[in-house]
C-alpha cells in the first residue's frame, strides 16, 4: 500500500511533457544550512515540501530545525550526516520504528547529489516514515563517493545487504559497514551501474520507446550497433591478457582471519545474541561471537571453507553459500549473490510505466501476480486513480490463489530439502498446476500472467473460470490442505528435523527486517494486509496466523495456516463477485502511455515471501525516474547467518528452504 501519497504539483500535468527528463525534485535553498550540501540548486520554484506526520514533527523538535528539514514530496531530510546515527537511534528507540523496511538511493544528477532514502517502520503496524540524506556524487565517475554515509548496520542489522547494494549500484560509501563489497556485480566491475550517467553496452537511449523502434519501426540488432559486437564494454587501454581478475576479492577475508563479521554496537540490540534452542542447542561448538576460536587453535582442529552453489541442488537457484565448517557444524557463513542479477532496476528506469508490469512477473517468478499487484497499486496511488470494484475482487482472488500455490511450492521443496526427495513435492506441484490452469485460462500464461493494469485488470473471468475457481476454492484445495497436514504436520521425522532448527527470536527478526511467514513464525503478527490494508482486504474476514517457535517447523505451520486463510478470502471474494458488474474491469480508458505526476511513493504489499515494496520516483514523464524493488527474499537473507551458525550443514539447507527465497527476487 502506498503509504505516502504524492502531491501533484499544480504546474505538473501541463508542464511535464516538455520538460520530461528535467523536472527533478530540487530542494529549496531557504530551508537548509550550507553544511554537507552541494551548492547550486537554488531553483526558483522547487517541488512541494512534505507535510510532516506527527512522528516527524517530534523528530524535528528533538533535533532542531537545522538538522531535520522537510524533504521534497515526502519525509524529512537529515542535513548533518554525522547526526544520522543519532537520529536513527532516536527513531528506533524513542519513536518505536524498530524495523528498517527499505534503504535505497536515487541519483539526482542535475543537482549533483545522490540521495539515500530510509524507510523505517513499526513492527506493531502503521505506515513507514521516510528519512533522506544526501551525498555529493563526487568528481571521479569510477571511484566511490568521497563523502561517506554512516552505516546503519549497528542500529538495524537489516541494513547490511541493502547498503552493500547501494554501494554496488551507486558507489556510495558507508562508514562503519562490516563488509562493504560489491554484492550483485563482482569486485572489479567498472563503474556504478545505476548512476544516471552510466550507460550499459547496449545503451540506445534514456527512455523507451526508442526512436528507432517506434514510431519509425526500424529495427537493428543490438550486436550490429555496438563497437564490440556483444554486450560488453571495456575501459580504454584494457588488456584482457594481463589483468588481475578476482571477482571474489574480500569474500573469504573475514572467514579466514576469524574476525567477527558483524560488528555490534554497545547500545544495539545485536548485543544479546540468543542461543539456539531445542535440537540445535546440543551442537554448537562456537558461538556467534567466535569466542571459542582460541580453543580451536589449542585443539589443532582444522576448519574448512566449502562453497555451496551457485550450481547446487538445494540452494533454490543460483545462490552461493560459503560455509566454514568444523566437522559438519557450520561456524560461519557468507552469501555471494548476483548470479541472477538481471538489471531489473536499470531496465525498469528505461521502460515506460506500463512496460514494467510484465517485468515484475519475473521478479519472484513463483508468484508473479503478487508482484504485479504491488507495482500497480503504488503507481495508482501516484496517479490518483482507483480500480473498479470487479477488478479489485479479481485482483484479490488471483493474488490469494498465488499465495496458496506459492506455499504449496515452498512446502514441497522444504520437504525436498529435508531429504524426502521429490515425492511430497510431486503432490503439491499437481495441486499447483490446477491453480496455474486457472491463471492460464484467465491471462494466457501459467507463470508470467501480466494480468494487472493501472486501474484494473486485463481480462474478466468468464462463467467457466468462476466455476473453476469455485471448485478449487471450495472443494479441491481445502481437501488437499487437510491431506497435506495429515501427512506432514505430526510426522515424527519432520518434527525431529525442524523443531528448534533455525531459531531466530522476534526481536532479532525485527532488527534484521525479516518479513513474511518467517516473521509471523517468530510471534510477530505483522502482515501488510492487516497492519496497513491495501486493495479491499479490509472487507474480508480472515486471521493472521502467528506461531511462536521461530523455527523451521513453525514457519511451515504458518504457511499451512496461511493457505487456509487465503482460501477463506478467495471464498468470500468469489461469493461477493456477482454483486459487481461483469465486464467492468478497467477504470477510465485503456491507455498505453501513462504519465505519472511528479512525486515519489513507497508502496508495499504482502507477497507470499514477505513485504514487497516499490519505491518509485517520477519526474512527471513517461518513465520512472527511480524504480526500486524492496524485495523480501533479498532482505530476509540478511538473517540467514545467524540462523545457521551452530547447526549442521544438512540443517543449513533446511533453514534456507524455510526462508523460501526466490533468486529472481534476491538478485533482481
Amino acid at each position: 500500500m502506498a503509504e505516502e501519497t504524492t502531491h501533484p504539483t499544480p504546474a505538473e500535468p501541463a508542464a511535464a511533457p516538455k520538460a520530461a527528463p528535467a523536472a527533478k525534485p530540487a530542494s529549496p535553498a531557504a530551508t537548509k544550512p550550507a553544511a554537507a550540501k552541494p551548492a547550486g540548486h537554488a531553483a526558483p520554484k522547487g517541488p512541494p515540501l512534505a507535510t510532516l506526520t506527527p512522528e516527524l514533527v517530534q523528530l524535528q523538535q528533538h533535533f532542531g530545525e537545522n538538522v531535520i528539514t522537510p524533504a521534497p514530496y515526502v519525509g524529512v531530510l537529515v542535513n548533518d550526516l554525522n547526526k544520522l546515527r543519532e537520529v536513527m537511534t532516536y527513531v528506533r528507540d524513542q519513536l518505536g520504528f524498530d524495523m528498517l523496511a527499505n534503504v535505497t538511493a536515487v541519483d539526482y544528477i542535475k543537482e549533483g547529489y545522490i540521495q539515500v532514502v530510509y524507510h523505517p517502520q513499526r513492527s506493531k503496524g502503521g505506515q513507514p516514515i521516510t528519512i533522506k540524506v544526501r551525498v555529493p556524487r563526487g568528481s571521479d565517475p569510477v571511484a566511490p563517493t568521497e563523502v561517506a554515509v554512516p552505516s546503519l548496520t549497528p542500529i538495524y542489522a537489516g541494513a547490511e545487504f541493502q547498503e552493500r547494494e547501494i554501494y554496488d549500484m551507486y558507489g556510495v560509501r558507508f562508514e562503519g559497514h562490516p563488509d562493504l563489497r560489491r554484492i550483485l556485480t563482482w569486485e572489479g566491475f567498472y563503474g556504478w551501474p545505476l548512476r544516471k550517467d552510466w550507460h550499459e553496452p547496449y545503451y540506445e537511449g534514456d527512455t523507451k520507446p526508442f526512436d528507432s523502434r517506434w514510431p519509425g519501426g526500424h529495427h537493428q540488432l543490438a550486436e550490429e550497433r555496438v563497437p564490440w559486437a556483444d554486450n560488453v564494454n571495456y575501459p580504454p587501454g584494457f588488456d584482457p591478457l594481463n589483468f588481475n581478475a578476482n571477482p571474489d576479492a574480500g569474500l573469504y577475508d573475514s572467514m579466514l582471519s576469524g574476525v567477527p563479521h558483524a560488528q555490534v554496537e554497545p547500545n544495539g540490540h545485536a548485543q544479546q545474541a540468543p542461543q539456539p534452542k531445542g535440537v540445535g542447542a546440543a551442537v554448537p561448538v562456537y558461538d556467534r561471537n567466535h569466542n571459542n576460536l582460541a580453543d580451536e587453535e589449542e585443539l589443532q582442529t582444522d576448519q574448512i571453507i566449502v562453497n555451496m552453489g551457485p550450481q547446487h541442488p538445494s540452494t533454490h537457484g543460483v545462490l552461493r553459500m560459503v560455509v566454514k565448517l568444523d566437522g559438519e557444524t557450520v561456524t560461519d557463513l557468507k552469501l555471494a549473490l548476483g548470479y541472477l542479477h538481471r538489471n531489473h532496476e536499470k531496465i525498469g528506469e528505461r521502460n515506460t510505466w506500463l512496460h514494467n508490469i510484465p517485468y515484475t512477473d519475473r521478479l519472484d517468478y513463483i508468484c508473479g501476480i503478487a508482484n504485479e499487484l504491488g507495482y500497480v497499486i503504488t503507481v495508482e496511488k501516484m496517479m490518483g486513480i482507483k480500480p473498479t470494484e470487479r477488478a479489485e475482487y479479481l485482483r484479490v482472488i488471483m493474488a490469494e490463489l498465488t499465495r496458496i500455490q506459492s506455499h504449496f511450492w515452498a512446502i514441497g521443496f522444504l520437504l525436498n530439502d529435508l531429504g524426502a526427495f521429490y515425492t511430497p513435492a510431486l503432490y503439491f506441484i499437481t495441486e499447483r498446476d490446477l491453480i496455474l490452469d486457472l491463471f492460464e485460462s484467465v491471462s494466457g500464461s501459467r507463470l508470467m500472467c501480466n494480468y494487472m493494469r493501472f486501474g484494473g485488470v486485463s481480462r474478466d473471468f468468464t462463467e467457466e473460470q468462476i466455476a473453476h475457481a469455485r471448485e478449487l476454492a471450495f472443494d479441491r484445495i481445502p481437501r488437499k490442505i487437510d491431506e497435506l497436514e495429515q501427512l506432514l504436520t505430526d510426522n515424527e521425522i519432520i518434527k525431529a528435523r525442524t523443531i528448534g532448527v533455525g531459531y531466530l527470536p522476534a526481536e532479532r527478526s525485527i532488527n534484521y527486517s525479516l518479513t513474511g511467514p518467517c516473521l509471523r513464525a517468530a510471534g510477530v503478527p505483522y502482515d501488510i494486509r492487516r497492519v496497513d490494508p491495501y486493495s479491499i482486504y479490509d472487507r474480508f474476514d480472515f486471521e493472521i496466523p502467528v506461531f511462536y517457535g521461530a523455527d523451521v517447523y513453525d514457519r511451515y505451520r504458518v504457511r499451512v495456516a496461511e493457505m487456509r486463510q487465503s482460501l477463506r478470502i478467495v471464498q468470500q471474494a468469489l461469493n461477493q463477485l456477482d454483486q459487481t458488474k461483469p465486464g467492468d474491469i478497467q477504470a477510465g480508458k485503456k491507455a498505453y502511455n501513462h504519465r505519472v505526476p511528479a512525486g515519489e511513493a513507497y508502496g508495499r504489499v504482502e507477497t507470499p515471501k514477505g513485504e514487497l515494496g516499490f519505491y518509485l520516483v517520477s519526474d512527471g514523464g513517461q518513465n520512472p525516474y527511480r524504480y526500486h524493488v524492496r524485495s523480501s527474499s533479498f532482505i530476509n537473507l540478511n538473517s540467514l547467518k545467524e540462523m545457521v551458525v551452530g547447526h549442521k550443514v544438512a540443517d543449513a539447507v533446511v533453514i534456507l528452504g524455510s526462508l523460501d527465497i526466490v533468486l529472481g527476487e534476491v538478485d533482481r
Binding site: 567498472y190 538481471r342 506441484i429
Partner: protein, 220 residues
C-alpha cells in the same frame, strides 16, 4: 557397416543354413549405430541445474502431469560428471557464465545442450541488461532452442523429441567424441571490468588500445 533393410536381414538370416535353428526366432540384427542411439536417446540424464524462471517450468515438466520419466530422462544428476544433457533454463548472466562454461567442460561426451526460453536463446526481455549474456550460445554450442518466456512444459517435451531425432541421426563413424585429438574445451571466460571472452582476447586488446570506442564512459 552397410545397412540392409530389416526385412532383408531377417529373411537372409532365417534362410541362412549356417544359423542354428534355436537362434532363428530369438536373434535380431540391426546396425550398431541404431542400437547405440536407441539406448542413448532413451536414457538421457539431464543435469539438475536451474537458472531462473524457466527452471520452474522444467520442474513442472519433471512432475506428475507432464512426466518426464516417459522419455527415460527423469534421472536428474546434480553432478556434471554424470550428466549427458544441460538444460540452460533461464537468464544467463555474466556472473554465472564462467560457472556454466566450467560445468559444460566437466560434462563427459557425448553431451547436449538445450537453450530453454528466450533468455538462454538470445537474452530475452533482459537482453539490454548490463549483466546479461545475449544467449548461452555465445559460449557453448547449443543443440535445440525453445521459444517462450517461459516455455510451457509441452514445449520442453517437444525439444526432447527434437533432440532424440538429432541423436538418431548421429553415426559412430563421425561423432566428435571418438575422434582423435583434443577435446573441444571452451575457455572459461573471466570477470574483469566486464566479461572477458578469452577467445577474443587479441581483438579486445587491439580495440581497447585504440582509445575507447566505448560509449559507456561516464561523462564526468
Amino acid at each position: 557397416m552397410a545397412e540392409p533393410t530389416n526385412a532383408n536381414v531377417s529373411e537372409e538370416f532365417q534362410n541362412d543354413p549356417r544359423v542354428p535353428d534355436e537362434l532363428k526366432n530369438n536373434v535380431f540384427i540391426t546396425s550398431l549405430d541404431k542400437l547405440y542411439n536407441w539406448g542413448r536417446k532413451r536414457s538421457m540424464w539431464p543435469m539438475l541445474f536451474g537458472l531462473a524462471c524457466c527452471a520452474i517450468e522444467m520442474i513442472a515438466t519433471a512432475a506428475s502431469r507432464h512426466d518426464l520419466a516417459r522419455f527415460g530422462w527423469e534421472l536428474m544428476r546434480a553432478s556434471p560428471r554424470q550428466a549427458d544433457l544441460m538444460i540452460v533454463s533461464g537468464t544467463v548472466t555474466k556472473k554465472m557464465i564462467p560457472q556454466i562454461v566450467r560445468l559444460y567442460n566437466q560434462m563427459p561426451e557425448p553431451r547436449y545442450v538445450i537453450a530453454m526460453g528466450a533468455c538462454a536463446t538470445a537474452g530475452g526481455p533482459f537482453k539490454e541488461g548490463y549483466n546479461v549474456v545475449s544467449g548461452v550460445d555465445k559460449f557453448i554450442p547449443v543443440d535445440v532452442y525453445i521459444t517462450g518466456c517461459p516455455p510451457r512444459p509441452e514445449a520442453l517435451l517437444h525439444s526432447f523429441i527434437k533432440l532424440q531425432e538429432k541423436i538418431e541421426k548421429q553415426s559412430l563413424r563421425n561423432v566428435p567424441w571418438y575422434r582423435k585429438g583434443e577435446d573441444d574445451v571452451v575457455p572459461v571466460p573471466a570477470l574483469g571490468p566486464d566479461l572477458v571472452d578469452l577467445r577474443r582476447a587479441q581483438e579486445i586488446k587491439e580495440k581497447a588500445a585504440q582509445a575507447a570506442p566505448a560509449p559507456e564512459q561516464p561523462a564526468a
